[in-house]
Amino acid sequence: MAVEFEPRIVGFLCNWCSYAGADMAGTSRITYPPNIRIIRVPCSGRVDPLLIVKSFQMGADGVLVAGCHPGDCHYSEGNYYARRRFAMLWPYLEYLGIEKNRFGVEWVSASEGKRFSQVVTSFTNEVKALGPRKAEALA
Amino acid sequence: MSQYISKQDLLSWLGKLRESHRLAAPVRVDDLVLFKKVERVEDIALDFDNTTLSPKEFFFPPTETLFYADRKDGQVELVPAEVTEETVIFGIRPCDAKGIATLDLPYMEEPGDALYQQHRDRTTLIGLSCIKACPECFCTSMGSGPDDASNVDIMLTEAGEGYIVQVLTDKGKAIAPQLAEKDVQAPPAPAVTPVPSEGISEKMREAFDDPYWGRLADRCLHCSMCSYVCPTCYCFDIRDYNENGRANRVRSWESCQSPGFTKIAGGHDPRADKGIRLRQRFGHKLLYFPEHFGTMHCIGCGRCVRSCPVNIDIREIIQDVQKLGAQK
């Protein structure tokens, strides 16, 4: 029986909004694909672009960063800086040969359990459609 | 009468060698000429001055695993790395061959580097003598010469439509092809611009405290390129990596010119000053290595001169040091 490709997705979730949102999805028993491995960070602004590239190099098929909605950052400005950084990283990763849909940035608030599951489901499906990163891929 | 091989026969001989050995030879990669594992003998460059990187990478690779550590049944098992492939390097210039012989001195001095020794044992060198000298070459001032056959197993000298062949060692005999006899003379060795290297070690010692080094280092970027293109530089760094539960101890090229090279625990750095750091390079090349091993640590290939982004030129430095040392 052929084994269907299950992408390995790394998720960087900010503690105050998106991680709480994921938690809400869990307590509300809303399901979403289990492919995502969540790493909790204090703020989306903490996510170093090096972390994204390193995740791809270590075998991730997709990387998702989730943070507070702009304006609602627990630290006031962290996600504004993150937004700028990822606005440049996204086209750059594609330029290096990593398909655009493998990297995603979403704003999910603490009460948006349902939205979190929708975001993860559609992201997982997009990455699944792209297939695995090539075995000999560099990043 | 000399032993001779035509160009065509040379290529078919190398093609045969490819089947039983890893054959490395100079190959054109965009604008560069680099030693690469040969896929097709037609790719071999026969008309080149010299390669950008030296052939030392076949004995002292840029990155090499020294050993692995596996965990088995609660025990740690050390698995040494091994060199199993037989290699033939074709197209090595006399200066670079002397460079390998020079690298032998630190790496094979007791107790000896096991991996280096294995690379050396499993590699045969086919040299290609120089029929023209580049303006920045100065091999004759560093104990070698454009037709110096002392450090290769087989030496080829271009003559007419082929090459005069000298089979010099047992290793060379083991791979040598059928050779014809031909009445052909080797062309005269090209003239190589001399550099005043006579007595440079003593002058280097005398010029040690001169402010010359600080002034010279003003423009040095400490980019390490000189050490990396040099056939005789041999510094390295070692780190342990964990890959899928297996530990690798990895050795990689490093350079005394790299800014953090001499940083030690506690934060002190004895060569934090640029002038002192740069002086170290030339001290090692012209004084410390000759003192310890009896031969210059430079073989006059000119790669550092060609590559340095700010034209720190060892030939100029040797001339300057001769004058400085004489003043003391």
Binding site: P49, M88, Y92, E94, L138, A139 | T63, S252
Partner: protein, 284 residues
């Protein structure tokens, strides 16, 4: 042009305004240039300026923080001065800037004479230094209208798979000599990310994966900071087209933030600031 530079250098050294003038002199191949540090007025005679003067001398300014230094800069180099001032790495008062209207630099190589302008110089729109104390040369009446990023556009036109193959091949060539980093005025971290052991971003292994991480992320650390002198690409011994990385980010920054690094010393770099309601194509 050369006489003006020498005269000014002599004057600065004799009057004690500066203790050193950093300029160019002829290299040992008799064709190219190399950086020169002149400490006494007599040495000013060695200064030259021509189309082989490729080096970005601003790299050396940071080391000389406590003294006033004279420096010869071209158009792109002068932007590096502004960059370092805006990042509090040098003080404007500590530099006496001899700006030179740049004629464009030719492709340089050891012992090679060339008339061909460097690719980066062919698309230059800033021949006149943006900051200087003394200007040598006539500023052009207008800057040429050029297609600014043809090289990046050509790369963007390839498929992701083609680009991946391209960067894999280039990464396998890198020997991690770090000449690109050492020559760059924007690279001055006391601990570079490659030297970090915890987290181990790159490490010391010289292999394609690590090499690609190094080259691509060094360029990313220069987003909105790279002033486009392209010295990194010039010094690379393996001819890796590093400008294709830096200029892609330069293009994105220009299109998204309408910003060019180093044009003045006050405007904050894109990553150092934000606008609350901006829509920049991410997270929307």
């Amino acid at each position: 042009m050369i006489e003006e530079i020498r005269t000014k250098a002599r004057e600065l050294l004799e009057s004690g305004t500066v203790d050193c003038v950093i300029g160019y002199e002829r290299a040992t191949d008799g064709i190219n240039a190399r950086p020169l540090f002149v400490y006494d007025a007599a040495g000013a005679d060695r200064l030259i300026f021509d189309q082989t003067c490729t080096h970005n001398l601003v790299k050396y300014l940071r080391n000389r923080k406590d003294k006033v230094t004279g420096i010869v800069v071209k158009g792109c180099d002068s932007r590096a001065v502004n960059l370092l001032i805006s990042e509090h790495q040098i003080e404007r008062e500590k530099a006496y800037i001899i700006g030179v209207v740049c004629p464009g630099i030719v492709e340089t190589g050891w012992n090679k004479k060339s008339d061909k302008l460097r690719d980066i110089c062919q698309v230059c729109r800033q021949h006149t230094p943006v900051v200087y104390d003394f200007l040598v040369g006539e500023p052009p009446a207008s800057e040429p209208e050029v297609e600014p990023y043809p090289d990046v556009a050509a790369m963007e036109a390839k498929t992701p798979a083609e680009r991946e193959d391209f960067w894999r091949e280039q990464s396998s060539r890198c020997i991690r000599c770090y000449a690109c980093r050492q020559v760059c005025p924007g690279c001055y971290c006391s601990e570079c990310f490659v030297e970090r052991l915890d987290p181990l971003w790159v490490g010391i292994r010289i292999a394609p994966k690590e090499n690609e991480m190094w080259n691509s992320m060094r360029a990313f650390h220069l987003t909105g900071r790279c002033i486009g002198c392209n010295q990194c690409e010039r010094v690379c011994p393996m001819n890796i087209p590093l400008s294709l990385l830096n200029r892609k980010l330069e293009k994105e920054v220009a299109e998204t933030f309408h910003f060019q690094a180093g044009m003045d010393a006050e405007t904050p770099a894109p990553f150092a600031t934000f606008e609350k309601d901006e829509k920049i194509g991410i997270g929307e």
